[in-house]
Every structure is written in C-alpha cells, then in structure tokens.
C-alpha cells in the first residue's frame, strides 16, 4: 500500500497570479570546498560528498522532517515520481553515479547532492511567490553553511562547475500558463522580448523539454554581477508582472472578441476529458491547458483551478502508475489508464 502523498506544490488557487502562474521556483548552486566538482570526482569521492552532506544539519524547512532518498538505489518509477513532482532534475533521474536528495516534510524544498554541482538547493511555491521564496532560501543557505564550507572566490563569487551559474548561483523561475497569447499568436513576440531581457524560456519540465499545453518556464539567465536581491526584484517586480499582464490582456481580447469560440474550445476540451477512452500524456496536457484557461476565466462551473493543477501532475506516467496500482510507462500503453483516471476525476 502506498503512503499518502503530501499536498502538491502548484495546488494553491489562492496564490498570487495563480490564473497565469502555476508555480515559482528558486534554486541555488553550491559546491563544497576541498572536493573536485562532480564531473571530475571518482565514485568514492562522490560517495564521500554524499556522506559529508548527509551528516550536516540542513536546518530551515528540513527541521520539521527530512526524507533522504538514495537516488542511486531507487527504482526507475520512483525516480520518475520525484522528477514529476519537480524534486529532482531530468539528468539526476538518469545519472548512474552516487547521488541523493533531501526532501523537506512539506515537499517545498529539496537539496540534490551531486547533480552538476555538489548541492542544488531548490524551493517551490504555488503562484507568484518569488520574494518570499528567496528570503526562505537565503535563510536555508546560511543555515547549511554553518556546517558545510562552500567554495567561494572573491571575484567570481560562489564557484560552480559551469560558468553560467557562477556568482550568486541563483536561478529564479516561474511556470507560466500562456494559452491566450498562443491563441492570439503573440507568443513569438513574447519569446523574442524574453531573449532581449536575457531570460531563458523552457518547456513544461525545464531545460530541453517541449512547451506542452502552452506552459512555459521563464528564468533569469545570468547569475553574476548583480546581487540576489536585484535579480529577484527585477524578475518578480518588473518582468513577471509584465508577462502576466500581457497574457491577461490577451484573455480579455478572447472574451470580448468571440466568447462563443472561447467557450466552445474550453467545453470541447472538457467533453473530451470526460468521455475519452484513450488519452496520451500530450493530449491530456493539451486539453487540461484549455480547461485551465476556461476555469481561470470563470467560463466553467463546478471545477476548481486546484483540481486542474493537480490533474496536470497526476496524469504523468509515474503518478498514473501509482494511482492505477500497477507498473505503467516504460513503453507500455498507459492511455487507457489515463483516460479512466481523468474521467473519474472530472465526473
């Protein structure tokens, strides 16, 4: 029997800007003094790093309970589960070297040990909560540093394996839902302006993934030369509200220009989700995205944003496999199980 999963990040309908922002994330890249970086360490050295970090007191959200997962010894379906819940990265799922992850009791925080850097600290929250996340992250970083000494250089700041993370090591990002901008064909312009603002735009699961269902992860690209506070302030105070305002304006255009077409699109999606018998992951996300737009615009009765957010997660292979109580994925056809699951949830 599977243990109950904690409440989901991205499940908060009352979170700020939750109509357009699924979740916020802050991550720090840190390395330990006295060890080679991960790419230049032997198997034994990587094991030493794992032991070193596991013996440290992390503090912060980990005080209320910490789950250490030895990822090297974890089954593929469970690694996939951690990935779907945004607790570990895709390369961390697929690596074969000694590595582990610490997960806080509330799943808001995780520390990957031996990803590209020795430590990747990350915090997630629903909606737009970057400033609060950043404050909590700083407190955690200071707490960890009481027992672990970081590699730091007076000129280059916190030292990282790749120069793209150098300095602050901070990456702030938000998962945006931009279906109206896609419908009014303004997405290309948004992507261009993001590039001009030195932002990275990625797909549903971050680096190297496709933009399924018009979900885009936007993040800062440079980490050196500005303080953490300046990076977060620019992103949370100026850039992100502009994206959200642009999407909201496009939504108003859709409602005003052709409300029947909008309602048709939303309710057709709901109809398919409620009646289908075979549902691929790509289709599920596509139709859930359309439904999410309708729910956010109050065009659908009786369905909460939280439910749609939860389904976006639970239609993914490992979650589905867990819900069905049988091994799915790995090339097996899970479309029937997904259709049944979604029909049940939206009945």
């Amino acid at each position: 029997m599977n243990a109950a999963l904690p409440p989901l990040v991205g499940d908060g309908p009352d979170a700020p800007m939750s109509d357009c922002v699924l979740s916020s994330r802050v991550r720090l890249a840190r390395n330990l003094i006295g060890f080679n970086f991960v790419n230049r360490s032997t198997h034994d050295q990587l094991s030493d790093i794992v032991h070193h970090v596991q013996s440290a007191r992390l503090g912060g959200p980990f005080e209320a309970g910490t789950r250490w997962v030895n990822v090297q010894a974890t089954a593929a379906v469970d690694r996939q589960m951690l990935f779907e819940r945004n607790l570990i990265s895709r390369p961390f799922v697929e690596a074969t070297h000694p590595r582990c992850v610490a997960i806080s009791g509330d799943e808001s925080t995780s520390v990957m040990v031996n990803e590209e850097d020795h430590l990747r600290l990350q915090m997630l929250a629903p909606g737009m909560q970057l400033r609060a996340l950043c404050d909590r992250m700083t407190a955690l970083d200071v707490s960890i540093e009481r027992t672990i000494e970081y590699a730091f250089h007076p000129r280059f700041g916190y030292l990282t394996a790749c120069t793209t993370n150098l300095g602050t090591g901070i990456r702030v990002s938000a998962m945006l839902h931009l279906p109206a901008l896609a419908l009014v064909q303004e997405l290309e312009r948004v992507q261009r302006s993001a590039k001009e603002l030195h932002l990275a735009i990625r797909g549903f699961h971050g680096e190297g993934t496709e933009a399924l269902g018009d979900f885009y992860q936007v993040s800062n690209q440079t980490t050196l030369g500005r303080s953490e506070r300046d990076i977060v302030e620019e992103f949370a105070g100026s850039i992100l509200p502009q994206f959200v305002e642009y999407e909201r304006a496009a939504r108003r255009v859709l409602v005003e220009r052709d409300p029947a077409a909008l309602d048709d699109r939303v309710h057709r999606a709901l109809g398919i989700l409620r009646t289908c018998r075979l549902l691929s992951l790509e289709e599920a996300i596509k139709f859930l995205s359309r439904l999410r737009l309708g729910v956010a615009l109050h065009r659908v009765e009786g369905i909460e944003l939280a439910l749609v957010n939860r389904l976006l997660l639970e239609v993914q292979p490992a979650h589905l496999s867990r819900a069905a109580g049988s091994p799915l994925g790995n090339g097996r056809d899970d479309r029937a199980a997904r259709a049944e699951f979604v029909r049940g949830a939206l009945r």
Binding site: N36, D141, E145, P154, G167, T168, S227
Partner: protein, 173 residues
C-alpha cells in the same frame, strides 16, 4: 609598520577592503593564506617577476591545451569541450583564460556583487582574534610573563591556531 596576516603572524601581502551591505571590512592576508583563499599572487618579486611574466607569455604561445589544473589536471581543451570546470582551483588557475568565457556567458559581467558566505566573515573574525592573541603572546614572552603566555597559548589553540607555526588558516583542506 608591516601589517600581519589575519590568520597568522606573517606579514600580509594582500590587502583588500570589502564593502558589503554598507558594512566595510578589511582583509589582510599573507601569501600562503591569500593563495588558500583563491587570491592570485605573483610567485616571485622584482626582476624575477618580470622574467616570470615573460615566461608566462612564452608558455601561452605554446599550445594552450598543455596547461592543466595542478589540483584536478583539467585542461582548457577539455574545459572547452565539456563547458565544465573540474574543481574550485580551476578558477584560480585558468582565471585569465576564463575571463572571456565568463563575460560571454554572463552578458558582460565580470565580478560577483552578491552575498558572501557568512563563514568567511566568521573566519576573518576568528583570524583577527588569533592575531590579537599572538601579539599579546609575543609581548608576554618578551616580558617573561610565562603564566600569562601559557594561558594565551591555550586560548590560541582553542581558536584553532598553530602556535608554533604560522597559523592554521581556514582549518579546512
């Protein structure tokens, strides 16, 4: 008067004033402790320094791939291929070569202006306390106040100092 290193009684050769969040702090380090903290120092002085520079230039005109990190043996060629450095020492060893790469990947930024580890501030505090004790110890010995000297010595040991040698620095490998 020569200023001693923050971590040991040796004369400081690196002097840096840091202003962080409006708070000013000074760092004074001897050659050994400066190298340990990642400061780049000329290894020789005077005319030898000039000769060293010339040698360095000659070394640079040789194939760059031959240069490797003394700690992890990473070469610039391997670094360019993977995009990853091998260890913290690489940043010191390849600082010159990395300057351009860092600027390119960081949209022109060349230096960190964000948070510093609180640990380094604490280490500097501890080093300052050790220096004060070392001075008092020298005075006590010169005045033949051996009981006081023994007590100061114990206090220094408690702070992690190497009383007979030049100080233990950061205390980490």
């Amino acid at each position: 008067m020569e200023r001693p290193c923050d971590c040991c009684p040796n004369p400081a050769v690196v002097h840096e004033t840091l202003v962080h969040n409006g708070l000013k702090s000074e760092i004074h380090l001897c050659a050994e402790h400066a190298a340990e903290r990642g400061y780049i120092l000329p290894t020789v002085a005077g005319p030898a320094l000039i000769a060293g520079k010339l040698l360095e230039k000659a070394a640079q005109s040789a194939p760059r791939a031959a240069k490797s990190c003394p700690n992890c043996a990473m070469t610039m060629a391997a670094l360019r291929e993977s995009g990853l450095l091998g260890c913290p020492h690489c940043y010191r060893h390849f600082e010159e070569e990395l300057g351009g790469l860092v600027e390119r990947t960081q949209e022109g930024a060349t230096a960190h202006t964000g948070r510093h580890p609180a640990q380094s501030a604490r280490l500097i505090d501890r080093a300052a306390a050790r220096n004060r004790l070392a001075r008092e110890l020298r005075e006590a010995v010169s005045r033949e106040e051996y009981e006081r000297a023994a007590r100061l010595r114990d206090e220094m040991l408690a702070l992690g100092a190497d009383v007979d040698g030049g100080g233990s620095g950061s205390g980490q490998p």
